[in-house]
Amino acid sequence: MKTDNKWEQFEVQPDSDLYAGVQHRLRIRRAWRRGAVATVIAAAAAAAWMLIPSNDKEVTQPMPVASAVEVQPAATAPDPVAESSELAPLSSSTTRQSTENHPTTTATVATAQPPLASTTSQDGVLDPNPLSLPSQPTPLPLKDLPMGEMVATSEADTTSELPVAANPPSSPTQTSTDTIPNQIWAPNIIVPNGEVDANRYFSLKFSTSVSEFKLYLYNRGGRLIYKTEDPDFRWDARRDGDLVPQGTYVWIATFRDSSGEARREKGTLTVIR
């Protein structure tokens, strides 16, 4: 259409991270054409089981990892010390986790924490019930979740590894769960209509038994979508029988862990259809 030089004055060097995004989209489209649609979504979303941190400081959700392979406790370690950015870099979380894993100090590791300070709301989520939402940074906005422009470290053929994502890692790379008791695991993304059965439901996994369990799940508008008192619940992303809209949801769970401590955990959940 035009010769090269005419447009030189308009040329702008794009940011360096854009190329990775191009490759990522290409990969998804290729897999899409192969027909593995829902698997692609799940792979791209990298439904990862997140170690839910329990602490009294600003809770920062570890960034969901791109590859299901990386779903190991070390990689998704909580970041107890407040980081202003809500996307705690994986490497720093890992090191922090390792420094805190002293086998001798099981009681203090990220478990028994004073009650969280209460604020009015997080990201506009209103709280109609007596639970006061602890202060924390806003849940990961949708655009920061792995769908989209992330550097995909997985070679997108992690479909075979998706079942891994569904289960909390049974052999954590850091010290085993009995030195860090009372952990809970939660998925950050579910695909209710997906092919991978493991990613279809939202449930929590506990490393020890819990009692007095209550879970509330809210949408971003603050409306209560789901509530349960059964720790072995499994939510199929339905409300009154209908699938809930795609989007980000926030859940809060209160319970007593095996040591009798009252705990309040929260996390975000993305529903992808």
Binding site: M1, K2, F10, E11, Y19, V22
Partner: protein
Amino acid sequence: MEKDYAKIVSGSRQHKPAAQRALYDELAPMAMGICLRYAPDREEARDLLQDGFVKIYEKIATLRQPEKLRSWAYNIMVNTCIQRLRRLGREQLMEDMDSFNDEQPLPDISTSEIMAAMESLTPGQRLVFNLCCIEGLSLDEAAAKLRSNNSNVRALLCKARRQMRTILNQKL
């Protein structure tokens, strides 16, 4: 002096990562310039760039003459932008048709000032301004590309020019 694009084109066709990367590096600045012109903001521009490149990579097999790479990619980019902006829902195109004869030339200014001023245009105005004043399409060509009619395009263009002149005059 034409660069030799044959290697990176054929390499990209065979999905060779090195060639694909080279293709991207070669075309990215030009593509970014296009997207920044058409997109309402930087985020949208980044998105358009990625979408455009996805199209380029997927259609690379259809490029028969590697030496035409730049203009071919240019067309793809521009079409990507237009398609996206068309989907954004056109604002009221039936603008007031009075001042058609507002065809004075725009003042001579630097590119960055022009691009900054373009940010104040509405999406439709920017689209038409891009096509007619920068790309140099005629009104009929632009109307064909946008699948609209000539008078709509002309009205939008007048509004765009008037707006640009106002902004640029303020800066002078």
